[in-house]
């Protein structure tokens, strides 16, 4: 009898000590965050992937930082300037220490660049930002970066590489995952990572910049949107990203919860094939005979754009969580042109344009897109098909998993050319430099020079190409940006691509927490206050 009583007592004590322990930790400023995905590694140089990069900014700093709209800010470099056409000089911030206490000097920069370009097994390395640049140490706090051709975007490239302590230049990715080597200079110190379960970071009290509010942050990956919302409402977590559109109205009405929304630079676009070389099998006349792509005629491309009711897509399909687009950049973002407005729905004018182009009888078209890759992608594609059918283009839709789509999209056709006539895909500028979408989608495809890797519809305009190349060769960034905006205006008026909308990014938190959001849809923990 006595024995079992003792057992009960020890059990109760044990349990209450567990509870007591967990409740005492609530007293410090802790934050629990649920994100939709988790990084694939804690090694900041392992994979150039959005979630990895946004997490890396918490533990590490780059020479140059980006604000919420990807404007460049001084980071581990306190200033930078071109000293001639081919060379940039970076003045490093003095007195910065890594989390392990080592002082930050120019040695660390060169060591980082050596490592970041050559991480073994990397599924997408940072070599793109490092190759072709020469790094030269001038003194402990000065570094020069030179290239063979003028490159005004070296500061942008440098904003992508997390600086590590040179002592860990030979460390493996595993060393970073386990925390042996993960010492940065960032606002948080890495504490632990249990893959699939949680990441823990702690405040860096010696941070050189604005100190963060939280002592500890625990990040939990919760893939399912409804579960994420439930975790917030029940108080399991304090902050979530990507609120499912269907849960948003409820959260907004709910007491004790704040919701944050902002138009992101993540856009959805249609690409229309505009050459006849090679002919693609997805346009047919009304007798089912294959025809050359009607979209070689700019009037037909305009007709498609006018036939798409972007506002209806936003209201009915996206639950208001998209903003109709007429260019790559949302308002307030680099490369934005105030002269380009999204096309307003006008089916009458679209039909007139079709008649002018000689297609008054219409034709048959199959459009393609990924399923489950972008928010509501299949429903949007179906809506567009209906809208096109109503102006006389009998449109059918074919969707497929993203893994299948992207291969066919890039090289599923004859001789490994792109396969589709009309396809829908998404884009977000990761680099924060305005020529990025122009170089990838708009410039004539020139594989060797790295131009037009995403130009799958054969758009080519010598004037636009020249503007892009001139802008990219001008060391004066603001002069260059004017050229890029000009190039964007010409290309968008010729419907080189048809932007549909920018996605509205969402976050939610318990009352009292604020989040500073901008054009980026990934979550930056140091902006939570």
């Amino acid at each position: 009898m006595n024995k079992s009583f003792l057992k009960v007592v020890t059990f109760v004590v044990a349990i209450s000590s567990v509870i007591g322990f967990s409740s005492s930790s609530v007293l410090s400023d802790d934050l629990k965050v649920a994100l939709a995905a988790e990084p694939t590694s804690m090694d900041p140089h392992y994979q150039n992937l959005t979630i990895n990069n946004s997490f890396a900014t918490q533990v590490y700093n780059a020479l140059v930082l980006q604000d919420v709209n990807q404007k460049l800010l001084p980071g581990l470099a306190k200033s930078w300037k071109p000293i001639d056409e081919l060379t940039w000089e970076f003045k490093l911030r003095p007195g910065v220490k890594f989390h392990n206490g080592a002082a930050f000097t120019s040695e660390d920069v060169t060591a980082t660049m050596k490592r970041a370009a050559n991480v073994p097994n990397s599924p997408s390395s940072f070599a793109t930002f490092i190759k072709g640049k020469k790094f030269e140490i001038v003194d402990d706090l000065t570094i020069r970066i030179s290239t063979k051709k003028p490159n005004p975007f070296i500061p942008n490239d440098m904003s992508r590489i997390a600086i590590i302590d040179s002592a860990f230049v030979n460390s493996t990715t595993e060393d970073f995952n386990t925390g042996v080597a993960s010492f940065g200079t960032g606002p948080f110190k890495f504490s632990k990572w249990l893959p699939g379960d949680l990441i823990e970071i702690k405040r860096n009290n010696a941070y050189w910049g604005d100190k963060v509010k939280w002592d500890n942050i625990i990040i939990r990956p919760i893939k399912d949107g409804t579960t994420r919302t439930a975790a917030l409402i029940s108080g399991d977590v304090d902050f979530i990203e990507r609120v499912p559109p269907s849960d948003l109205p409820n959260l907004e009405k709910r007491k004790g919860i704040s919701v944050f929304k902002s138009v992101s630079n993540r856009s959805l676009y249609l690409t229309l094939h505009m050459t006849d070389n090679p002919r693609r099998p997805y346009t047919m006349d009304n007798n089912d005979k294959p025809i050359a792509s009607p979209f070689q005629d700019v009037r037909m491309r305009k007709a498609v754009s006018l036939a798409i009711n972007r506002q209806a897509i936003s209201d009915r399909i996206m639950d208001g969580l998209s903003s109709p687009a007429g260019q790559f950049s949302p308002k307030g973002y680099i490369g934005y042109s105030p002269n380009l407005k999204p096309d307003v729905y006008n089916p009458k004018r679209a039909k007139e344009l079709m008649a002018e182009a000689g297609y008054s009888d219409g034709f048959k078209l199959t459009i393609h897109g990924p399923a489950g890759r972008y928010t509501n992608d299949t429903r949007i594609l179906e809506a567009i098909a209906q809208m096109l059918s109503s102006i006389g283009i009998q449109t059918s839709v074919e969707t497929m998993p993203a893994s299948v789509f992207f291969k066919r999209f890039a090289r599923g056709g004859a001789n490994k050319t792109p396969e589709f006539t009309v396809a829908m895909s998404g884009y977000a500028n990761g680099s924060g430099e305005p020529s990025h979408p122009l170089r990838i989608f708009i410039h004539t495809k020139q594989k060797k020079r790295g131009y037009g890797p995403g130009n799958r519809n054969g758009y080519s305009n010598a004037e636009v190409d020249k503007l892009i190349e001139d802008g990219r060769a001008s060391m004066d960034v603001s002069k260059g940006e004017k050229k890029f905006i000009k190039a964007t205006e010409i290309a968008m008026r010729e419907y080189a691509l048809l932007p549909i909308h920018h996605v509205v990014a969402t976050w939610a938190a318990r009352e009292g927490i604020t989040y500073e959001q901008g054009a980026l849809d990934s979550t930056f923990l140091h902006f939570i206050r």
Binding site: I15, S22, S122, A127, P401, G430
Partner: protein, 307 residues
């Protein structure tokens, strides 16, 4: 088996499209293709895979850059504890209810048990999971929504079974996963009970005036257990292999999440290694079932000794 899996998955898309950031230069795409051996024809890739497999190396994950088998083994304990708890819940709840239903086929209780078992079989797991979250976490606030909770260590084994917090986290996903199995155990136990109760030895036992408790425990139970053990052992395999939906909803850091992400992102080595792993698991479970027969059914044992 490995041949089928390997070539099937080779037909789907191109992992390089899913891995390499589109802003990368063309050299980078070529480098990744070469580093991962994707520039080789499929049969050579398969040959290399077989060579590695002979040495216990099923290849490196494209995404994590670590051995696929190690990743699977790392995530396995979480899934194992979830599946084990689900199985235990299924037996503890299902067996008594099923026997009751078999003993008293016409009672009111049986009708309730049987109709709710129909619900258990027909309600989709994900919907029920979400409903459980809404009721027990959001409205009542009793249980945590997701994750594995605190992990304790006992005799060198790490599991959330050993902490109070971990147990709280385990209840909902395990029950969710168990629900379908509970319904199944009820049906098996009821069918078995009805059949066995009509046998002569039960009638004799009754005639000898044994109390019904004793009849159920020593005469009925061992006889209905054989089919239940067979089915449950195989079902245990499916619990582990297909806990995916439950794991996704409750953000349980087990195998399911790993595999779903691997399929979406075309991380071929993980998918192949996972299927190999599951096949092996089923083989082992079948072996265990055969051995357990010997314990449960004396006839199997006696036969062996006779020869």
């Amino acid at each position: 088996m490995s041949l089928i899996v390997f070539f099937m998955i080779n037909f789907v898309g191109d992992p390089v499209d899913m891995l390499v950031n589109p802003e990368s230069l063309p050299e980078e795409i070529e480098r990744v293709r070469k580093d991962f051996g994707l520039d080789q024809p499929a049969h050579i890739q398969y040959w290399k895979f077989l060579q590695g497999a002979m040495n216990g190396n099923l290849g490196n994950s494209f995404i994590f850059g670590r051995p696929a088998l190690a990743l699977i083994v790392e995530r396995f304990p979480a899934t194992l504890e979830l599946a084990t708890c689900a199985l235990i819940i299924a037996i503890i709840v299902g067996l008594p209810l099923g026997i009751f239903a078999g003993l008293k086929p016409n009672s009111f209780g049986t009708r309730i048990i049987m109709s709710s078992s129909v619900l258990g079989i027909s309600i989709p797991t994900f919907w029920l999971g979400l409903m459980m979250i809404i009721v027990f976490s959001v409205i009542l606030g009793w249980l945590p929504v997701s994750g594995r909770g605190e992990i304790g260590s006992f005799l060198g084994i790490q599991s959330s079974l050993f902490t109070y917090d971990g147990l709280l986290h385990l209840i909902m996903p395990a029950t969710n996963l168990a629900l379908f199995k509970i319904a199944m155990v009820i049906r098996l136990a009821r069918a078995g009970t009805e059949e066995v109760m009509s046998f002569d030895f039960i009638k004799f036992a009754r005639a000898r005036g044994l109390p019904s408790k004793r009849i159920v425990r020593f005469h009925l139970l061992p006889n209905i257990l054989i089919p239940i053990v067979t089915v449950l052992a195989i079902e245990f395999g499916t619990l582990i292999a297909f806990a995916t939906v439950t794991e996704t909803i409750f953000a349980w850091p087990g195998l399911g999440k790993l595999v779903i992400d691997a399929i979406i992102n075309l991380d071929r080595p993980i998918v192949v290694a996972y299927l190999m792993f599951v096949v092996t698991l089923f083989l082992i479970l079948n072996l265990i079932v055969d051995i357990m027969y010997a314990f449960l059914d004396p006839r199997v044992r006696v036969k062996g000794e006779d020869q």
